[in-house]
Every structure is written in structure tokens, then in C-alpha cells.
């Protein structure tokens, strides 16, 4: 932590005598490479939240879940957060959790179920669930979903900025179709699309955003409800690859801020590393 936290500065400004108080150690080495970023990392000490359809309990490819809640919004717009006894009614959340587990075996997995309680109000539940997850201060939040409802765009924007400033890395799926959806388009999140290769540790930086990274998302063997697995395709499954890799980096380098983490992801991308 910087000295900033000890004595607050006046709003939006830096007095001359305070400059010495905000010295921040440079966490990055002269050359950032994969070995420095995630070599030997297991995800230990990192809390990853899967904001999705829930996670099936006791799935062999997922293992222990540290916490599971279901978030919904009642008719008065009040957020309800309750322990999730139901698990996963679709399989999608379990799939995402399994991908993170495979990459970051020691990471702590948390489930926030925002889908499956009914279609009406699904956008509200997504927003409320994300707000709750940001308040919990998870290190990484995997969001393999988005909303097309413009009415939520501004609130989502505020929330993703809040996550960014609070140190939560929000990893969000780009849409698979040419439609406007949120929050993956915001620069405060790490947005992910798919490549067609099989290596789970191969990821590319996209020189032409808004999609910032491409990870494995085609014909991925994923955990599914019923204790088994299926093969799945979609940006939904590319996203937890970047979440898992982010968990590895954060476990090895907990001081990195979200924007530094994004820089490390960029510098360690397959196309940046190999081709310069």
C-alpha cells in the first residue's frame, strides 16, 4: 500500500509537500515475461468470483467452492443475497469454474448466481450481483455474460470503474454476435474473445480493440452439471482462461493494480512475446 491511505490528500490535487508521501514501488521488472509473470504460480491466496448460473457442488473438475450466493432483485428493486443451495441449473457457471480451477488450482472459487431465477429481471440481477461481488473485493471476477439493455450501461460503467479503482480485475466476455452489449466494451474491464487453438495458455493481445484479448474458446472440454464434462464453444469459455491466468499473475504479484495486470497480460501475450 502507498502512503496515500495513511493520510488522505485533498480532493483531486497533490500539494507540493505531499509528493514525497506518494512514492510507489515499481512492481515491474525491466523485462516482463511469462516466467516472471506466472512461472510456478498456483493461484494461492487469490479469490476468484464466478458471476454466472451457479456452480455445481462437488464436481470433480471444480473441487471446493469457498462460497456460493444467489442474487436476485425483488419487485421493489431491493437486492436479495442468499446462500445458494441450488448449485447450477444450466451448466455454464460450472464450466467457467472448471476452466479457472484447471489453470489456477489453488485459487479460492466463489459462486455468485445471477441467472436461473427467471427471465424477467435478469439484467437487474446481473447488475445487483456484480455490485455485490465488487463490494466483496474479490481479486478476479469472471463475467462470461453481458446485457444488451442500454438502461444498465451507465450503472455498469460506474460499477466497473469502481472495481477497477478498488483493485478487482473484472474479466468480461465479448459478445459472439455483432450486437451492442455491456460491460465488456468498457476499458476498465479485461475483455476476451476466442481463438481456435487448443493451448489453454496461449492468449493474444488484440491490436484493434474493443476486444482486448483472445483466449482458447473453441471445442473446449469443460465441466458440466451431472459431474461430467462436454465440449463447448464460445467467448464464454475463453473468458475464464484469462480469469485463471489473471489469478496466477495476482497470486505471484499481489501488488499489481488492475491496469498493471492488464499491462502484464499484454506484455506476456503470445503475439507480443514471440513476434515482438
Amino acid at each position: 500500500m502507498s502512503a496515500l491511505a495513511e493520510e488522505p490528500l485533498p480532493a483531486w490535487s497533490l500539494p507540493r509537500e505531499a509528493a514525497a508521501r506518494i512514492r510507489i514501488a515499481n512492481p515491474l521488472p525491466e523485462r516482463v515475461d511469462r516466467e516472471w509473470a506466472l512461472g510456478g504460480a498456483t493461484g494461492d491466496g487469490v479469490r476468484v468470483c464466478i458471476l454466472d448460473s451457479g456452480i455445481e457442488r462437488g464436481h470433480p473438475l471444480v473441487g471446493d467452492i469457498a462460497g456460493a450466493v444467489a442474487v436476485s432483485v425483488d419487485e421493489d428493486g431491493k437486492t436479495i443475497v442468499e446462500p445458494d443451495e441450488e448449485g447450477d441449473r444450466c451448466g455454464h457457471g460450472t464450466a467457467c469454474a472448471g476452466i479457472v480451477r484447471a489453470l489456477a488450482p489453488a485459487a479460492e472459487l466463489h459462486s455468485v448466481r445471477v441467472l436461473g431465477a427467471g427471465f424477467t429481471g435478469s439484467g437487474e440481477a446481473l447488475l445487483a450481483g456484480l455490485r455485490w461481488a465488487v463490494e466483496q473485493g474479490f481479486d478476479v471476477v469472471n463475467m462470461s455474460l453481458s446485457t444488451t439493455k442500454r438502461q444498465f450501461a451507465e450503472l455498469l460503467h460506474e460499477l466497473t470503474d469502481k472495481a477497477y479503482f478498488n483493485g478487482t480485475v473484472l474479466v468480461a466476455s465479448a459478445h459472439n454476435m455483432p450486437v451492442e452489449s455491456y460491460p465488456w466494451r468498457f476499458s476498465s474491464v479485461v475483455s476476451v474473445g476466442s481463438h481456435e487453438e487448443e493451448d489453454p495458455l496461449r492468449y493474444y493481445a488484440n491490436p484493434t480493440p474493443p476486444v482486448e484479448f483472445f483466449a482458447r474458446g473453441v471445442d473446449v472440454d469443460v465441466a458440466w452439471v451431472g459431474g461430467g464434462s462436454i465440449r463447448a464453444t464460445g467467448n464464454s469459455f475463453a473468458t475464464p482462461h484469462i480469469s485463471g491466468i489473471s489469478a496466477l499473475i495476482r497470486s505471484k504479484h499481489p501488488a499489481l493494480t488492475p491496469f498493471q495486470l492488464k499491462t502484464v497480460l499484454h506484455l506476456t501475450s503470445t503475439n507480443v512475446q514471440d513476434d515482438g
Binding site: G91, A117, T120, S144, D219, W224, G226, I230
Partner: protein
């Protein structure tokens, strides 16, 4: 009788467009099945208030009995696709015992693989298009995903246009009296707040008086 003709005009407008609606949907799933070389294809329409997905069209003569069947939008793969508004492509779905059971109960046929894509009109979800058991190939490709997305966009536009046309046809029925009703409805639609409440109360009163209740 005058009011019989009026009701008949409105009913005929609605009925005719429903049939076109069904024909267009059927054509969409037949084309989807052909494009992907798949065994089956279907469209679910989302009924948001009931939180249900309704089989609106199914490709193939033998599967027509499915049209009209309903399922909860709260569970399952199509439900997830509708609420998450994002497509899913799955293979080996038979290994999901719950999915296999639910689908078998609904259709008597459990696919090996499926592609499900939301039918989006700007920010609204109109339904879900499913394509079942495309031919087995080594790998799925992102080109297929793109094709699926483009095709779904086209299907959604067709659905949306048809819905709009249906409303317009009903409102602008050429019968003078139906047109009068349409004008009244349009005037009512433009009102807000207390004026709207007042107008509705007036209409209720009018119905009571005209019906002689």
C-alpha cells in the same frame, strides 16, 4: 350485424398474420437446418411475462407436434441463452443427464450436440434459435459461430418486422369501423398519466353503456 363485421375484421387481420408468422418461422428453421447440414432446428419464442420459452417452429414434417409446447425459461440451455443473450455451442450434451432427460421428455429425441443463439432485436430478446446435430467434424470453427450469429440476426429482423406488420395490419384494417377503433387506440396510446387514466375510465364507461350492463 355491424359489430359482428367489426369483430370479424379485427379477428381476420390477426388470424391471417398469425399464419404468415408461423410460415416465416418454419421457413427460417428449415433454412437453418439446411445451412448447417443439421438434423433438426427449432425456434423458441420468449414469453417474458410467463417466463417461458414456446416452441414456435420446428423443421421437418414429423416434428410439427412440438409446436406450441412450453418450457421454463429459468433452466436449461435455451433459457440460459435467452437470459445471458449470448450463443452457446455444445457437443456431447448427452453426458448432461438432466438435459438429456428434460429434452427427451419434451421431444423424444436427445441430440449429441447443439448450437443455441439468442434472437436479438437491439436490446430485446425475441427468442432462441437452436440447431441440433450438425454433421460431426473434427472441430467447430469460429466461421460457423459467425455464420450462426449473422443468421440469427437475420431471423430476428424477420421476426421483428413481422411483429410490426402484424400490429400495423390489425390497426389499419381497411374496414372503416376497424380503422376508427385503431384511431381511438392510437389516441389512447399517446395519452399519459391522469389523462390516460381518465380516458380509460371513459372507455370503460362507454363499454358498460353500449353493452347495456
Amino acid at each position: 350485424m355491424a359489430d359482428d363485421r367489426l369483430r370479424a375484421a379485427v379477428a381476420a387481420g390477426l388470424l391471417g398474420s398469425e399464419q404468415e408468422f408461423a410460415r416465416l418461422l418454419r421457413s427460417i428453421v428449415e433454412v437453418a437446418r439446411a445451412i448447417f447440414g443439421a438434423k433438426a432446428s427449432s425456434i423458441f419464442l420468449l414469453e417474458e411475462e410467463a417466463n417461458e420459452l414456446v416452441f414456435a417452429a420446428v423443421a421437418g414434417e414429423e416434428e410439427q407436434f412440438l409446436v406450441g409446447r412450453r418450457m421454463s425459461a429459468s433452466s436449461g440451455i435455451a433459457g440460459w441463452v435467452a437470459s445471458a443473450r449470448t450463443p452457446l455451442v455444445l457437443e456431447d450434451v448427452q453426458s448432461d443427464p438432466r438435459f438429456a432427460r428434460d429434452v427427451a421428455e419434451d421431444t423424444g429425441y436427445v441430440p449429441r450436440g447443439l448450437m443455441a443463439v439468442p434472437l436479438l432485436e437491439e436490446e430485446r430478446v425475441l427468442g432462441v434459435l437452436q440447431v441440433l446435430d450438425r454433421p460431426e467434424r473434427a472441430r467447430f470453427s469460429l466461421q460457423e459461430m459467425e455464420l450462426l450469429g449473422l443468421f440469427a440476426s437475420q431471423a430476428a429482423i424477420a421476426l421483428s418486422l413481422l411483429g410490426t406488420a402484424r400490429k400495423a395490419r390489425a390497426a389499419l384494417a381497411d374496414d372503416g369501423q376497424a380503422s376508427l377503433v385503431a384511431q381511438l387506440a392510437a389516441a389512447l396510446d399517446r395519452l399519459e398519466g391522469r389523462r390516460r387514466q381518465g380516458a380509460e375510465a371513459l372507455l370503460e364507461g362507454l363499454v358498460t353503456v353500449l353493452a347495456g350492463r
